[in-house]
């Protein structure tokens, strides 16, 4: 399952953002400065799952700029949130296609929230994939929905 999620991540980031993530090994440290944006989408169905993304604000801004073909200074907070939600949605959709999941699995509306560095520290992501993107860390997580 995580392999398919990894493949979906590469596909979405490369196609829509012209960003080329590199997988980080477990325990590999890379410092990212907050605040962070956390976006997630629930996949309802026989087994309910929640897939999400967590990125520092700097990376969210870069992603939005690449997505919209704008400069980073032009990007608003709302655009960063919107792009993160859209990205999570695309990731989950691509993931379901790769799984060849039945129509019983349905994507719900994505949600987004801001986290301070403190709040992020308190969180424990159960199953996560970490990537280095533009010298920042992008975390992808899967939870029971």
């Amino acid at each position: 399952m995580l392999a398919k999620l990894r493949a979906a991540t590469f596909e979405v980031l490369e196609t829509m953002f012209f960003l080329f993530p590199e997988s980080l090994e477990e325990g590999e440290k890379l410092r990212s400065r907050g605040p962070f944006l956390r976006s997630s989408v629930t996949i309802s169905g026989p087994q309910s799952l929640r897939i999400g993304l967590q990125v520092p604000q700097n990376l969210a801004r870069t992603m939005a700029a690449n997505f919209l073909g704008a400069t980073e200074v032009e990007i608003s907070q709302m655009e960063m949130e919107d792009i993160l939600k859209e990205t999570t949605n695309m990731l989950a959709g691509s993931f379901l296609s790769k799984l060849e999941a039945s129509a019983a699995f349905q994507l719900q509306t994505p949600q987004v929230q801001w986290l301070s560095a403190e709040e992020k520290k308190k969180q424990e992501l159960v199953k996560s994939l970490r990537f280095e993107v533009e010298e920042e860390v992008l975390e992808l997580f899967v939870e029971k929905g």
């Binding site: 196609t15 829509m16 939005a64 919209l68 695309m90 379901l96 296609s97 994507l107």
Partner: protein, 139 residues
């Protein structure tokens, strides 16, 4: 010939992206219209002629399915081609939309060439840019 395009998506940023890609694609676009859901799209159609609709599926108030049903009931609008722009392309998800008369679909993530190819196939070749033109565009 210039084509009038209606983009229906609840995400402002997605609408901006699609619009940008359409510009890059080199089609002779007449007017752009944008709606955040099916209801807004129908409101736009009441007062404007549209040649093609690019629509999202999941939208608040009136989703893609309800929009398609409304279009099919209308004498003037039933023949307007609709292309779905969707995160989900599983056959079981897409088939009901095809049965409702959707012309084609584009799965997100997509490349600009994909939109260009789909529109060319449906509307015909108005003006197709060189590959070098597309590659040199920064979007």
């Amino acid at each position: 010939m210039a084509y009038n395009v209606l983009i229906v998506d609840d995400s402002v940023t997605m609408r901006a992206l699609i619009r940008k890609i359409l510009v890059i694609s080199g089609f002779d676009i007449g007017e752009y219209f944008e709606g955040a859901n099916g209801r807004e799209a129908l409101g736009i159609l009441e007062h404007n002629w549209v040649d093609i609709i690019l629509s999202d599926v999941h939208m608040p108030e009136m989703d893609g399915t309800a929009l398609l049903k409304a279009l099919k009931k209308h004498q003037l609008w039933r023949n307007i081609p609709v292309v779905l722009i969707t995160t989900e392309a599983r056959p079981e998800i897409i088939k009901p939309f095809m049965n409702l008369g959707v012309q084609d679909y584009i799965q997100k993530p997509f490349r600009p060439e994909t939109i260009r190819q789909k529109l060319t196939g449906i509307l015909g070749e108005a003006r197709t840019p060189d590959a070098s033109e597309i590659e040199s565009c920064d979007f």
